[in-house]
Symmetry: D3
Subunit: 307 residues, 6 copies
């Protein structure tokens, strides 16, 4: 099946067939029937997770927050999967938190006194934080493809992903101050480490103004802008295909060490890297890859063991 996928890539001038393949494919890995996420397998080694609550503009309801954890924990364990593409179904990527569905949790938390209410609220926040941290803990790279609006919780989600792509019509909004709270599920923690313009981070977080695709590209929030969703999905899958064709030992070790180095000094990170690679360099993938390089063969023709 991987072979067919790659063939269709090569044959077509446009990448649309890949996208069709995505839609046509049956779900690869056995998963529980999620209500907000749709999982498919555009290629053997690629998992496509689609946020699929379009009738509610992909607003993040209670089900979503817990399904994210289950979904990415399963992907982390799935030895077939080497890379993940995440996108949103319908007109926009996501409208952010579903205030109606979650108001009870946040606005009427239980507890006999302020301390106990605080205690319970803290557990809720920590649980919600985990819903996006699982993206980071999953060792497979996650490419997120954003179209239309990406609001509030959406920004938290995408900053926890590894690679961000968007359409020309996409816009981003750190919405939380507008509803009276400091963003607490990742944006304030990850956005400043994702882009290199602190004045802009502060402006976005303090004014809740919208940022459009061009500014998102120039400030480095996304690394590529596509004309429309179809092209973007094709681009995302092509990039996923590139990554999936590399040694999973190399790819997942790269993700893990990139995240480690974000949070540590260079010296600490070099030390961790050396300790990591003292075993990982003993992979057969090194020889296979080196040989392919010398023989000028495509990595897509090399078979790496599962990881």
């Amino acid at each position: 099946m991987t072979f067919l996928f790659r063939t269709s890539f090569r044959k077509q001038g446009l990448l649309i067939p890949v996208l069709n393949a995505v839609r046509g494919m049956s779900t690869g890995s056995p998963t529980p029937p999620f209500t907000t996420l749709s999982i498919s397998r555009p290629a053997d080694t690629i998992t496509h997770v689609e946020f699929c609550r379009p009738e509610k503009r992909n607003a993040m309801n209670k089900a979503f927050w817990s399904e994210m954890v289950d979904c990415f924990n399963q992907i982390a364990e799935d030895k077939e999967c080497r890379v993940v593409v995440f996108s949103g179904a319908g007109k926009i990527f996501t409208a952010g938190i579903d205030l109606m569905d979650m108001a009870g949790d946040i606005m009427q938390p239980e507890g006999d006194d302020t301390a106990r209410i605080s205690w319970n609220l803290r557990q809720i926040i920590v649980k919600y934080q985990e819903s996006f941290s699982v993206i980071e803990k999953c060792p497979k790279p996650v490419i997120v493809a954003i179209h239309g609006a990406c609001i509030g919780g959406g920004v938290d989600l995408i900053t926890a992903s590894d690679i961000r792509l968007c359409t020309q019509d996409a816009w981003f909004q750190v919405k939380e101050v507008d509803i009276g709270l400091a963003a607490d599920v990742g944006t304030l923690q990850r956005l400043p480490k994702v882009i290199g313009n602190r004045s802009l981070v502060n402006e976005l977080a303090l004014t809740a103004r919208k940022m459009y695709a061009d500014e998102a590209k120039s400030c480095g929030l996304v690394s590529r802008v596509f004309p429309d969703k179809e092209t973007m999905m094709a681009g995302a899958l092509e990039m996923a295909g590139e990554i999936a064709s590399r040694s999973p030992v190399a790819v997942q070790g790269t993700k893990i060490n990139l995240i480690f180095s974000r949070d540590h000094s260079v010296q600490e990170s070099l030390n961790y890297m050396a300790t990591w690679n003292m075993s990982m360099l003993q992979t057969h993938d090194l020889m296979k890859s080196a040989q392919a390089a010398m023989e000028k063969k495509s990595l897509k023709d090399i078979i790496f063991s599962k990881l």
Copy 2:
């Protein structure tokens, strides 16, 4: 008075009247008569701090260094104030340190031997560092508006601020190597965390070359460039108005946590955030803001308690 301010905003096509309002307003909060800083209240919730020593090109003399501490400590305590705009009077933002006034401190420090001179110098440096760190410790966001030159100590100052705006004719210079010292009141510590181009940071700090507005915008030192000072001040006040209209619990919590996350790992910062918000989510502002959002009302019509 807040109401008038907002009305004038809405009525006018251009933002110039806001600026006029700034000039016309009498100082809001009782402050000691500063000699280098002029404090005004363009709106009830906005404090404008103007570096006001234009005859000396806003050079930073001894008075300035200590007045900064008093000024921002007062602002931190001022429950009316929700956001600060900082700018410079006269032709340029600042010429940096006033070597004439401060030469004694730095070049002829007291002490019976090298160790004691060093000890005294260290106390002076630490005291000067505090003059800009107060900006960061003040929980209210500080928008800095730069025109003309921003030299030496000026760069230390603006990197400690939250949002940086400038005029088209602004330029920036990390001047310290030119006078034989490594910048020690903040630039070397904050600039690399403010922009995402380390080669440029090093170039600026090691060659003391000027950087103009366009490069400052493209590298992310400022998030907006305005054609002239008048427009910039109007823009700064409009942005201040936007921030001031949000819940102060949300806004100040956002600033505090953004600064925390700059200096900690993502995991540490998420933990701190959860502990912070376990109480802050219990604010009435959350309900007020959410309700405004649902009723499509402007946040400027909501009254939040002081903080």
Copy 3:
């Protein structure tokens, strides 16, 4: 000799003569006969290190890795030298690691069991990491000038340098995933702290795609792009000349504290800076520089003691 150098700078409209000077000059400091590095002294205070294995596209062989350590340790001790320019001889900057020469070390490491092989591999990785960390530990600023290709190990090398310049035809490739390993001699640790676009860092590291000069400039990997190598070398030497004319106490203190602040919180870094400068402010260079500034004299006419 320094005088001549400066004169030639001033006299010529173009900077080409400087470049000629570089080539013509005999090696200034006594060094062992390196086989992969060519050392010259374009000016008394500037050391030019040229990666000189053009017949092998400057591939990094075993000799290179150990010569780098010797070379930069010598430069660190050389009291004449105030700034370093690093470039590559021949058609490209570097093709990265010389797989043929190093295959034995990496692919057939010694050891009686997996643990012992890992132990030995770790020592090799740590040793290779040191080959680039010496650039960072050397207190003199290192300007790296890149033309043509900069592949694999080349990216590790340049991210450990202070200032990055390139030609219009330069391209960069984080190659390691292509040969089955996670980059372990610096790229994953330093690249994210060098540019402010994490999505791009991840994309480059996970797909091994090429990045060309324009994108390298806009993302902040390099701070200047030159039309060709000759112009770049002249520009690099001119910049080196600017840096070399400043107080070495100021310049080297700046480098050391910029690296310190990359790896520490702002508060920690301010504390270290104060402790550093309590003695360094007692340099005569401060008075000399300040006097030159007041007398509007060029720093190039000031003589600073060696450091």
Copy 4:
């Protein structure tokens, strides 16, 4: 067996008061039928976890490692429980890891090459580490009561507990070097932070020699030594009773902040503590406790809400 244990308690004159407090409790919380852990409820607010595989000298088999996680996660959620006592059934506390049962996991790990075997081993180690880290993550204090031998994994377990008590006949052994590995589930990480004698820590870990109760007391591994197990269990329950009578907001906040401060600087920890207590001081428990103190009433007569 739990029942018998309680009976023997009741027989003794000295300990009856404790037991009265504990009267007639059947197991409170619904738990799955663990095969290695026996859970009982000596008092409403006290959970007793007994390592119950005496026929195998409480050797840690696969079931144990996963039951620990379930058990302590349940306890963390159990709002009735305020404190935990952990002990071992039979002749000794624990013989450590059950090599026979776990040899497959550790000695014959799966994987197509060294890198993949390493990857799988890492997941196993991380999972085992979690089996003791749950003790630390559970906000309720855990008192561990050790009799007879505490070997290998037993030391990992007890160093993750909050309070350590032992009998006069107890001995401790960091056994791992004897079976050819560096202890990797907590001892090397926690033991040096639990006692203040680094020479001794190193000696124990490098020679695997036994340490007896007296040395354990004098070096601070345990804070109390009891003549025999019966007395120790009574002492442990009495201490548990003392803790359980205090405000759970105070007690659990204390545990959480003590663990935080172990891993952070004093300044960081004070900051976290202030943020923690800004809500927790608003508990009704404060007033209830203060009132009891003023009225000289026992805290055991105060009813605090569940947490």
Copy 5:
């Protein structure tokens, strides 16, 4: 009262030599009339701070918390003073926080909603934390001499001091859980770094049990136990005299670096130390001290410049 205290010293045969050294000193530094602290000058270079509210068992009232800050900030600036002795007047060292006086602050904090009450409480806690952190920030060593009871806030205070001495009748109690709160002004942060018995720290903090002098000595909370207060005060002053006779550059540099190393890795601390001493080794004190050592002269006969 200070005078009387000294008189009682003089009467004793044993302690006369100390007192000769201390003879006839009137209070050296001008201080505001504190209401809870009595400041005296037993020797030119020694400041004695006495907690002086014996009629209230030295309970910590509002005045005390702010006077501590003023007092130690003054001492830090006082160039005469080289070492501080802190003790309590009356029957006990301190009964801890004065609940009556402070109840308003803590139990009825102001604020329009939970968030604002929390905000205000946080500021109060931070302010109280500072009352003991000033001891640590003051570069002069602080010897604390404890007799009778040292309860609650008293433990916070003494753990922020450098050297702890006590009388045989002294006892210590981490009291906070008894009044329904987690100790938030230093005990949970500093106690675990002051003694090396974590099980005991947890036991004390979770049960609020008393610890007597012998256990305090054996666990390392105090380094010396004296038979009674008079002997202890003489011992404290003798030790203060020893410290005061050493070079203040050496002594204060030692305190500063000991506190730095508590909160940093060994490598970080060595780096800081080297940067500290690069200037401090240039003190004349080094030569004076070395000469005294060679000439076998007492350091008490050497005159060091003030610091």
Copy 6:
């Protein structure tokens, strides 16, 4: 040779013959002729380093500081050696720094101004720090055996060692304040992490008082006290023999991870440990050791490969 050594151990009631063996043995590994260190090989796997400048009371002269680096770097590379014993020849362990020999370096450092003198002093300090840090960087455990006096630099040395033993007549003195400086080659950084009595650490460092063997034992500076030097050396060698008989993979991994965990949080250290052991658990030593344990064979009869 190992066999003979072990035999002599077993045969003799006393351990004196071992000591004789030490003296009689010729140096095992080829080393340069050190002038201050005498290297011998009491057993194949044990290196004995003797500080051998008894006519100068083992004062640390310039030669010593550089020979330490060479010596321990060689030992780190020596695959035969598994454990090191360090002791002093003559009447005392060491009198500390040799002021006469080193006065020039420290008291008359070169440099044209204060900054340059400071720069040079810093390099000297860093170099001296390395002389003891090599002990820590050497992965083989170092047992230090102290008799008589251990003064100044001696305390720096022993706190960098892993296990500390002493004779009944030993005493320790943190001497630096007596000669006018803050100890800068390790004591202030390591001593507080070596013993768990901070009040005592401060007292010792600030008063330079002597501490005798009994206090050293009770505070945890040493883990064993022996009646005299001969017994101590026998005890040290016996302990060395115990360690040397264990798997070097286990032993050296234990040392490396114990040092790592000293400087990191528990969570960080567990992560590093897991990454370390993912390869190290694949050693054959695990099987060999486990088998020996099951067959009740002594580890001394197992042959482990060199590391």
